[in-house]
């Protein structure tokens, strides 16, 4: 897998656990991406997606402080921004409308996320 595929891509990170958000951010930076966020709440995620005009992809944790990330996922779908879920949940916890979305189990493998974002982009 060639990590350079994310070079200069603007990637949003939504993850409420600081350690994980920070890890993803540094891995994305290493891969040459431009990181938007990270943000750890659904409010911040919605705000950032609404405000951002150029977004190439997003990585979404599903449970944000007990709230589900799905409204943000809907907004990304509307805006045709490819995204992947990073989660510890089983598929059954994800609504049917997102069944096509790649779900990366935690701990996430950045290569897999990169592939997922590239495929749909």
């Amino acid at each position: 897998m060639n990590q350079a595929t994310l070079r200069d891509c603007r990637i949003l990170v939504v993850e409420d656990e600081y350690m994980l958000a920070d890890e993803l951010r540094s891995e994305l930076l290493d891969a040459g991406a431009i990181v938007l966020g990270p943000v750890g709440t659904i409010e911040d995620a919605l705000e950032l997606i609404s405000a951002e005009t150029a977004m190439d992809g997003a990585i979404l944790d599903i449970n944000l402080r007990g709230e589900m990330v799905f409204p943000a996922a809907d907004l990304l779908t509307q805006r045709n921004v490819p995204f992947a879920f990073a989660t510890g949940y089983e598929d059954s916890a994800i609504p049917d409308r997102f069944k096509q979305i790649t779900r990366c189990e935690k701990p996430v493998d950045l290569n897999r996320i990169t592939q997922a974002l590239r495929q749909v982009a």
Binding site: M19, L20, G88, P107
Partner: protein, 454 residues
């Protein structure tokens, strides 16, 4: 009857517990073997038949000298002379003991089953296969369906039953009854609305055909169980398992990132080993605190700080010069506990290695207070960690520790817990403040709060 001569058959002797020919048959030898409790009624039956010129027909017990009891059934007719005086009687007596005990056993077994039926919390019923009307329905029906049996069985009771079922479940339920009527077994679930309170309950029926000797379905038997609570529990378990999955995965991801970070700041493997272990131990302590919680319970800050200090050798009651002061029972939001504990762990570790817990001149003062209505109208906890009397390393020397504690306090706590923090290296030691919103149940005792930690 005029002569008093009585003839007994051989069988008669035996029925009454005599050897054949043992006694001379008389009224007295006969009545002597009638059970004392049955004598009066037996004699009365006899005299009534005689006086009223009716057939004599009577059952009684015969008590033998060895204690045996036989059930006898006697029938007889009197003959009268022209004046209407009885002159002769002939009769037969039958030993019905075996038939009678079989009947009693049947009655006893029916009674047992009836009691099972009455006691069952499941509703048991039988329907006639032809009319589909109930011929048996146990009291559990009233508890489960919220309708008394009298009402339920008045008129066409199949229709009454169907009308209790939610419209969208009716067709399926009726279809299953039809299948059983054709001789199949069926297990199916449906919902009913209880007339008594409008509550909806889930039922699981296990129905089966009862066949005649010639193989036609004569009755339909059914066992109906209220599975409402069962279903709710199953659903709760599903949610809990999903939560557990989520938390475990998150925890493993945190451990992985912790390992990476520790590795990056470690000089060599043994350095990594001791630091990584300490951090893992701290994480394990938090999981221990969290897992001991009962539902609705919260970890309190004093519990957390005492646990963390104890792990660094500062045990309650042996604080020496260390001051640990603040209100007890400040309840932390569960999602904040892990990150807060890791921050306290880093502070304590640094204090042991470079600060007030490692230098004899050092003084550690930890104080905290609760602000009932802080920013966002939430209760806030303000923590003040102050080390004094420390000989600090000269500026420009190698940094204290890995900086992971500082990062946790300055970055992670604000990001993850909306905390407000400060971390300063003063000339005589560290001064750190952490303000964090805490569980509203601290004040109200019952306000709902998500207990998700991540």
């Amino acid at each position: 009857m005029l002569t008093g001569v009585i003839n007994w058959s051989e069988a008669h002797y035996r029925m009454e517990g005599y050897e054949v020919g043992e006694v001379v048959p008389t009224y007295e030898t006969w009545i002597a073997r009638v059970h004392p409790d049955d004598r009066a009624s037996t004699e009365k039956a006899l005299s009534t038949a005689r006086d009223k010129h009716t057939d004599y027909e009577h059952g009684f017990r015969s008590l033998h000298p060895d204690g045996t009891i036989r059930f006898l059934y006697a029938r007889g007719i009197f003959f009268y002379d022209a004046d209407g005086q009885p002159v002769r009687m002939i009769g037969i007596m039958e030993d019905v003991t075996d038939a009678r005990s079989a009947e009693e056993r049947l009655r006893a077994s029916e009674e047992q089953f009836r009691q099972f039926g009455e006691a069952s919390s499941d509703v048991l019923w039988l329907r006639d296969a032809e009319t589909l009307q109930w011929v048996y329905l146990t009291p559990a029906f009233e508890t489960i369906y919220g309708l008394d049996r009298e009402q339920a069985t008045s008129g066409n009771d199949l229709r009454n039953w169907v009308e209790l079922i939610l419209p969208e479940d009716r067709e399926h339920a009726i279809g299953e009854i039809r299948r059983v009527r054709k001789g199949e077994r069926a297990a199916f679930e449906y919902r009913v609305r209880r007339p008594v309170d409008g509550q909806i309950r889930w039922l699981r029926n296990t129905d089966f055909p009862i066949f005649d000797a010639d193989g036609t379905v004569r009755q339909i038997g059914g066992i109906g169980r209220d599975i409402t609570d069962e279903r709710a529990t199953a659903k709760r378990m599903e949610v809990l398992v999903a939560e557990l999955q989520h938390r475990t995965r998150n925890l493993i991801a945190v451990v992985r990132s912790m390992a990476d970070k520790t590795l990056r700041s470690s000089g060599d493997l043994s350095d990594f080993r001791s630091r990584f272990r300490e951090r893992l131990d701290a994480l394990a302590r938090v999981q221990g605190l969290l897992s001991r919680l009962k539902e609705g319970d919260r970890v309190t800050f004093d519990e957390l700080i005492h646990t963390e200090l104890a792990a660094h050798g500062v045990t309650e009651g042996h604080y020496g010069s260390t001051i640990v002061e603040g209100p007890a029972d400040v309840r932390l939001r569960s999602m904040t506990v892990q990150t807060l504990a890791m921050a306290l762990h880093e502070l304590a570790t640094n204090a042991v290695k470079y600060g007030a817990l490692g230098q004899s001149s050092g003084q550690l003062t930890i104080t905290w207070s609760l602000e009932p209505s802080g920013p966002g109208n939430k209760p806030w906890l303000h923590i003040d960690w102050r080390e004094t009397g420390i000989v600090m390393q000269p500026p420009g020397s190698a940094p204290r520790g890995s900086g992971q504690g500082r990062e946790l306090i300055e970055q992670a706590l604000p990001y993850q817990l909306d905390a407000k923090t400060s971390y300063k290296l003063l000339p005589d030691g560290v001064h750190c403040t952490i303000s964090v919103p805490v569980s509203a149940t601290t004040l109200e005792g019952n306000e709902h709060e998500s207990s998700d930690p991540a």
